[in-house]
């Protein structure tokens, strides 16, 4: 038994292919039999993935979900930033460049609006809970953008570590919500064409959330959403500790 476990751990990436293959198969079966295909198989698979991440995280106390269990370390490589980004780039193959040009203005507007709105919402709720100094408000506002913008803003401004932890949690929750919620809200917000997908990527910003959420909605929308989402975190890190913080400082008076 131990020999087999060692062997599986040593062939981590290969074992990850088997594991994810099984998860996909179970998900599509569940989607067909329980929801008559109404909840897409890939949406079920992502929810099971998040559930496994929760189980892994509770078991090990680590920060990388199931990938912290030594046997499943290969999942970390398979779903890590390197292969994920390679797969995202590959979805651009066959994309219609005219669609991108047509949605350029909407995409740029979505980016600006998405960052500012998340930031304001986060800062206002932070203030309502007693975090009334501009540094904490900006950090939690950054977390409302993505779980990277929050800590980058907080570190730049010298926020306390519990505020930074809060901003990471808020951003992570947003990523999880976007992953699960996108297929559910898609019909309500008209998310069914390349242009709305580009607006979606720019507004939501979380690359992992958008990548997972659009995959579960309609795979053909993925490249358009990913295209704008990939600018979001960088722009957020640029605006958070500078323009947005200064605006907050002016509003709160210090």
């Amino acid at each position: 038994m131990q020999m087999i476990l060692d062997l599986l751990a040593k062939n981590g990436l290969v074992f990850a292919f088997v594991t994810i293959g099984v998860v996909m198969w179970i998900s599509y079966q569940l989607s067909d039999r329980l929801t008559a295909g109404r909840l897409h198989g890939s949406a079920v698979a992502i929810i099971i993935g998040l559930l496994l991440a929760w189980i892994g995280g509770t078991m090990t106390g680590g920060s990388k979900g199931l990938a912290d269990v030594p046997l499943f370390a290969g999942i970390g490589l398979m779903g890590g930033a390197m292969l994920r980004d390679l797969a995202i780039v590959s979805t651009a193959y066959g994309v219609d460049i005219r669609e991108i040009r047509k949605a350029g203005v909407a995409g740029a507007a979505a980016l600006a609006l998405g960052i500012v709105v998340s930031f304001v919402v986060g800062a206002v709720i932070a203030a309502a809970f007693g975090y009334t100094d501009a540094v904490s408000m900006a950090t939690i506002g950054g977390g409302a953008a993505t779980y990277i913008v929050g800590p980058v803003t907080g570190t730049a401004l010298g926020a306390s570590s519990d505020v930074i932890a809060l901003s990471v949690a808020a951003g992570l929750l947003k990523a999880v919500l976007v992953m699960i919620g996108t297929p559910l809200v898609a019909p309500l917000i008209g998310l069914n064409n390349p242009k709305s997908a580009m607006a979606y990527g720019g507004l939501m910003g979380t690359t992992s959330g958008v990548a997972g959420g659009l995959a579960a909605t309609d795979k053909r929308l993925v490249p358009y959403g990913a295209m704008t989402a990939t600018f979001y975190t960088g722009l957020g890190c640029l605006l958070g500790p500078s323009v947005l913080y200064l605006a907050l400082l002016a509003v709160t008076g210090g």
Partner: protein, 130 residues
């Protein structure tokens, strides 16, 4: 050969990420700005040129299409390594902030998508392929 397609994809990925990092340095942020987006644009233009000049036969094309088809399983593996425990452990402030920011941005999607005229939905999927 299939590897030509994979190599073209990988080269575009790397070139895009390098561009994004450079842009991040120029803007003075500790983050990659649009690297994957640049990589996608590079891939679109590079493969278009390769196809027009006959340098991308269907076999090479398979090298790109394989990764495109692996996209959803890779995203599932990504989901399986999210820090879900930390996301849920942030207390009421984190939960409210995450929830409110998500809902507010969802509500804005139809507004922004209407800029410059509304688009028709994509035709429904016929065959299901994963």
């Amino acid at each position: 050969m299939i590897i030509y397609g994979v190599a073209a994809l990988a080269a575009c990925h790397l070139a895009g990420v390098i561009l994004g990092d450079l842009l991040g340095i120029i803007l003075g942020v500790e983050s990659n700005v649009g690297g994957v987006g640049f990589a996608m644009l590079l891939l679109i233009f590079a493969t278009d040129w390769m196809r027009r000049t006959g340098r991308l036969p269907p076999v090479s094309e398979q090298g790109i299409l394989f990764w495109s088809a692996m996209y959803i399983p890779i995203v599932v593996a990504m989901a399986a390594q999210q820090n879900v425990v930390a996301a849920l452990a942030g207390g009421p402030v984190a939960i409210l902030v995450g929830l409110a920011a998500t809902v507010a941005c969802w509500a804005l999607v139809p507004v922004v998508a209407r800029i410059g005229g509304q688009d028709a939905p994509l035709p429904p999927l016929v065959a299901q392929e994963g």
